[in-house]
Structures are given as structure tokens and as C-alpha cells.
Symmetry: C2
Subunit: 383 residues, 2 copies
């Protein structure tokens, strides 16, 4: 099964270090720098803040580079993940995840205070408002909180036209326990779009939803200091709409086959790959030493799916063909190919469907596990 979506010649990279045991992750430093810079320029051009989501790379080194290029801070998924970045010296972190038990952020608030970091939270309902107010009270802090708005993913957030949105925003603006940071949305449903024009519609509707809600809040006397949106599809695939103050894409740093499917990038923008070895051959498959434990079984973000589990090319020379991983065991990938293709011992490069999920399997980007700067610092930070 060849991978018809990929121009194999554009996936070429220098041969990987021959002595390294496979499978391992590789980052293309030039592509990474280009991707980081391109998004910063998009943000600068639209005069919005870029606050990248670090769930993609989970790396202090890369977060520091994003800040050095102009990012205003970072976005994190879980309290323990946010904490790694605060402890690593990032001065401003938004925890874009609902907090429903005040104890969940006790340690993050302590670390934030010790480091003098600026922290922002989100609330999507009354349980969230109560938990954050309680945490703030206990720590003697007035927490900065975005109202989370559901613009169509159907996951977390108040609907933009819901009556409750005004009451929740008022509670965040009481000036005592909490302060209103603004409105925050994530149009993750853009990953399910069929093409760029559908992504543009989603981005436009998201901005319209938030602008309308902002006007409603302002009419009720509630200031909305910031409108924050962000997903790589809407930030790369559509102009940044008027009314937006901040963007929070994450995947743009590495990109992947899903981003290619959506028309967001070219094969030579793909920053992350996994180097693997063919360890067996049979009449149907080359069997490689990377399976679901290393690559993840994600076929795309948010349950979207793409055929196969990654695009495969020869790693040692300029690729002239591309294949797909059709299925996986825990430590094996099955690559359908003709006998004679991909013999045992060949080293292959795999470009995953969903780079965020693949990175989350590994402890380090290498090449040397011993180099602290290549650690995946927030790996396993689920809590």
C-alpha cells in the first residue's frame, strides 16, 4: 500500500546516526525553526499574541525558543504539565483545562507564587467558578480566569448564546476572588474539516461567536480584556480574524500527516519523524520495530481518522517512494509492500498521523537520552 498523499522526495532528511538503536524520535531543527518563526510572523502580522500550546512538544527547550521568538507565554493542558513549564522558568502560563476540584491546582499555585509566574485558568460552569474561587481564597490570590466557550467541538464550554454565559462572566468579574481574563475557545472540530474552505468557515464563525458574546457581556458591564482562540487548522488555514487578541496553536511546531491532509503544510514542513528498522519480512508485509506503544494508535486528533498509522520512507537515502503502516501490534508495525522492497535491516522514517500523540509515548527526542535539553519534560503529566 503506497501513500498516495505524500511526495516522498519532499520527506528526505539526512541519514540518521547509524549507531543509535531504533525506534527513536527525530526532530528536523531547520523545519522546527521555520514552523515556529512562520507562526510568530502570522501572529505579529495580525497584531495578536501567540501563546503556543506545549502539549505537542512538552519540551522546555522548545518552549523557551517560542518565547525567544516572541510568544507571550505558553498554554498547557493539565496542572502537572503547567507546573513543569513554570518550574522551567516560563513566566506566563495559561492552564486551558477545566479545574473542578480546588486541590488540583494547589501545587501549581504554590510553584507559581514561588516563581513569580503569571497564571491564567479557565472556567466553563459553576463547578469551575467555585473550585477556582476556593483555591484563590485558600492561597490568598485573585485568580485570572477565562470563560471557556464551546464554539462547536461539543466538549468543554458554555455555548456562546447561552443565558448562563453572562452570569458566569459576571461571577468571574466580581473583582474579589477572581478576575475576568477574557473569552477562550478551541475550534478542535476544524480537524474534522474536509478542506481549507471548511476550516475558514469554522474560524470565521468562531470569531463571530466570540465577538457577539463579548458585545453581550460589555453591554452587561463586563469587561472582556482578551479573546483567545487557537487550533493549528484555524490558525494556519485561515486568516486570523478581527476581534481576536491571542492565538494558542500547538501542533504547528511539528505538524503531521493530519496537517497535510487538511492542506495546512507541505511534506517538507513535517518536523517530527520516528526512525525504525525492518525486523522481519513476509509475503505481504515489512515488519518494523515501532508499534502502537511507540507511535500511538491515534489516527488523528479528536477522534478524526486518516488511513493507516503513518507515512513510511527509506531513511538512509533520498526517498523515491512512500508506504503506509496498515496495522500495528504493541511493538511491531505492518507495512504492506512488494517482496524485494524494504528488506530486513532497512532503516525507515515514519511521519505520524498525529505528532502530539507520538511524542507523548517517548521520554526523549534524542539523539542522546542523557542530554537534558532533549528530554520530553512533561511526558506522562496527565494529572
Amino acid at each position: 500500500m503506497s501513500d498516495a498523499n505524500v511526495d516522498p522526495r519532499k520527506l528526505g532528511r539526512p541519514p540518521p546516526p547509524p549507531e543509535r538503536q531504533t525506534p527513536f524520535l527525530e526532530l528536523d531543527a531547520d523545519r522546527l525553526e521555520r514552523n515556529l518563526l512562520a507562526m510568530q510572523r502570522r501572529a505579529d502580522g495580525a497584531r495578536v499574541c501567540l501563546r503556543p500550546h506545549i502539549k505537542t512538544h512538552k519540551s522546555l527547550r522548545i518552549a523557551r525558543r517560542q518565547i525567544a521568538l516572541g510568544a507571550s507565554g505558553v498554554t498547557a493542558s493539565k496542572p502537572s504539565e503547567a507546573q513543569v513549564f513554570v518550574e522551567g522558568g516560563i513566566a506566563s502560563v495559561t492552564l486551558a483545562y477545566p479545574v473542578v476540584r480546588s486541590a488540583a491546582i494547589d501545587y501549581l499555585l504554590e510553584v507559581g507564587r514561588a516563581r513569580g509566574a503569571d497564571l491564567n485558568f479557565i472556567a466553563a460552569d459553576w463547578a469551575g467558578v467555585a473550585a477556582l474561587a476556593e483555591a484563590g481564597l485558600r492561597h490568598g490570590l485573585r485568580l485570572s480566569v477565562f470563560l471557556k466557550v464551546d464554539v462547536g467541538l461539543g466538549r468543554v464550554g458554555v455555548k456562546p448564546d447561552a443565558e448562563d454565559a453572562v452570569h458566569l462572566a459576571a461571577a468571574l468579574s466580581d473583582g474579589r476572588d477572581l478576575s475576568m481574563a477574557g473569552l477562550l475557545a478551541h475550534a478542535g472540530h476544524a480537524y474534522g474539516a474536509s478542506d481549507i474552505s471548511a476550516i475558514r468557515e469554522i474560524a470565521t464563525k468562531e470569531a463571530a461567536d466570540l465577538t457577539r458574546l463579548k458585545a453581550r457581556l460589555e453591554a452587561a458591564g463586563i469587561a472582556v480584556p482578551c479573546v483567545s482562540v487557537g487550533s493549528t487548522p484555524t490558525c494556519l488555514g485561515a486568516p486570523i480574524p478581527p476581534g481576536v487578541d491571542e492565538i494558542r496553536p500547538g501542533n504547528y511546531a511539528f505538524l503531521d500527516r493530519t496537517a497535510m491532509r487538511l492542506g495546512l503544510c507541505e511534506p517538507d514542513d513535517l518536523t517530527l519523524s520516528v526512525v525504525a528498522t525492518v525486523v522481519a519480512r513476509n509475503s505481504r508485509y515489512a515488519i518494523i520495530d515501532a508499534g502502537s506503544k511507540a507511535l500511538s494508535s491515534d489516527q488523528g486528533p479528536h477522534g478524526t481518522s486518516l488511513s493507516g498509522f503513518g507515512a513510511v520512507v527509506i531513511a538512509e537515502r533520498a526517498p523515491e517512494a512512500a508506504w503506509q503502516i496498515e496495522k500495528m501490534s504493541e511493538e511491531h508495525g505492518f507495512v504492506p509492500c512488494a517482496l524485494g522492497e524494504l528488506p530486513v535491516g532497512s532503516r525507515l522514517r515514519i511521519f505520524p498521523n498525529h505528532s502530539c500523540a507520538t511524542v507523548a509515548c517517548f521520554d526523549s527526542y534524542g539523539p542522546e537520552d542523557a542530554d537534558p535539553s532533549s528530554r520530553i519534560d512533561a511526558r506522562g503529566c496527565f494529572a
Copy 2:
């Protein structure tokens, strides 16, 4: 969406520690002990050795318990995984993974020698024989090697009736660089069986394939000291057939929804669960704080699939209903349920489809990450 496959009352466990941040893994110590003991008794009853595959638990503590109950050693997937168990004091380890570059086992052989451990390898083709012979020569060791036989999974191994099987076995028996450990197979295709009778057919055919090949080798003057098989479905779902000397199941320690689907166990045999919290609600879903990064997106082993991504019950009291995770984002699970069910803040217990894949996401079984004995010692050992 309720989970019709599960009797929720049989999934009850004591409430999890309220102070612990979710999501986290929990092992039911009683169920674990029962599962370990039951398999050891099956092996003892059939007078075969049990050499459990540690890829399921990746834990030294559990491997040591398996040994204490009578296991003859352990089985591992990758050299770096095997090394963790040798360094942890397990005296006999079979690396049931094809080695095609001799350097891949250099460090394992050094550690094995230092620890006086008994190591076994597999070879499935001439590249494997050459790599192992070269490694043995370089380290001044005669390596013990099983001939890997493909009994139907279509992954790694020589076909049982292939002409080459005799030549490969002869090369392993030359008495100089390598020694013939026996025949080794993995009937992983049993996970795709529709019911127990199909599993029995697979187990019977596997034993017949290996017995036939053994006779052919013996007729050619090649001794076959051990016939080793192993998958949890064939070891739990079928009698251990005559002619088998060793079994290598792994998943039986924890089991999961896949084992239930196959009729291999009851809900109250499920040892591994993930405790999560409802962090948001909307009209369709309870949104929980465990997604694809914590649970994995595996729907079953070897690319088999089961609806959803885990069975869900209330954790704090005796469960009376069960639901399913329908889809996931990286840090969110979507559990379809009626409004009023599963309110924000509820703690839930998830029984995964594929426990091996879920364990591989976490660094520790907890409850305290600081307790070294609850570490997932071989996490991330892909190379």
C-alpha cells in the same frame, strides 16, 4: 451509550483515595494475585513451564511475584526492556523479538554476563541467525536461540512447513556460535477470534504445526529441547495441548475488555483500571480527564477492535450502570450519557480495552509515585 457487555455490579472496587489527582492507574491486588496464581496452576497442571511476558505490566515487583509463584523466568519484547528485568535480578529472560543488528543486544549481553543471567533469543530468518552469531562471537558467548515460527499471525517467523525451517534450525544447532533452544510461536491472531471455539481451534492448530515441524527437525537430526507458545487467549481459552513445554502469556495478569469480549474472564477478574474525574458536561457527553494520552487509542491488541475505548463505572460507590468512552481528545474522554448522569466532579473508574497499551502510557501504578515498587520500570523501553 451504556456498555451492554459488562455487569457493572461485578466491576465494583473500594473507593479510590480521595486526595489523589486524577487520572491514575489502580491495580486490584487481590485480583492480580488470583490471576497470577490461576495461570501458574494451569501451567503446573499441564506440566509446562510458565514464562510470563512482562510487556503487560513492565514491573519488577510483579515479575518477582510471578517468579515466586513458580514462573521459570520472563519474556520481554525489546532489548532495553529485557535489560531492565535482568538488572532487576530476574535470572532467566527470553527476548522474544527478532534481532537483526548484532549491536542491538550488546548492552543486554554485557548486563546478562555481569548478572549471570540466562538469556534466550529468537531468530526468524538468515539475517537474525547472522546477527546473533556475530553478537555471540564478539562477546565470546554461545547464544541460546529459538526458531520463531509463524503459526498464523502473519507477522514474524518461518512458516511451519517451509523448507527453510530445517536449514535455519540446522544453523542454530551448529554447536559453535549458537545453540538451538527450541521452537517458539505466538498465536496473536487468537485475539481476532469470534469465540472460544475459534480460540481452541487456533491453539490446537498451533500445537499441531509445531509438533509436525519438531518431528521434521528431529528426523533431520536436530534436537528440539523446548516448544514454547503463548498468548493469553490460547492459554486461558483452551486446554494446554500435548507437545507444548512452555507458555508465555502476558495479558492474563491484568486482563481487559478484550479478554471479556473473548469470554476469557469475568468483569471481577479485571485487575487494571484508570480513575478519572468528570470535568465538564454537555447535553450529550460527560467529559472526563483521561484521553488518548493516558488510555491509548488502542481498541484491542494486534489491530483488533472493540466498540469504544473503555468501560466506565462510578468509582465512589457500588456501580449499578456502565457506560463506554465513545471518542477521545488527547486529554479528554467523551462518555455519552443522559443529563443528570455523571455530574461534574464525579470520579469514574475505566476498564480499558487493552490494558497493555494503557499501562505503557503511565510512569507508575501509584498510589504514590515516590514508591519505587509501584514504578512501571520498563516504560518507554522501545529500543
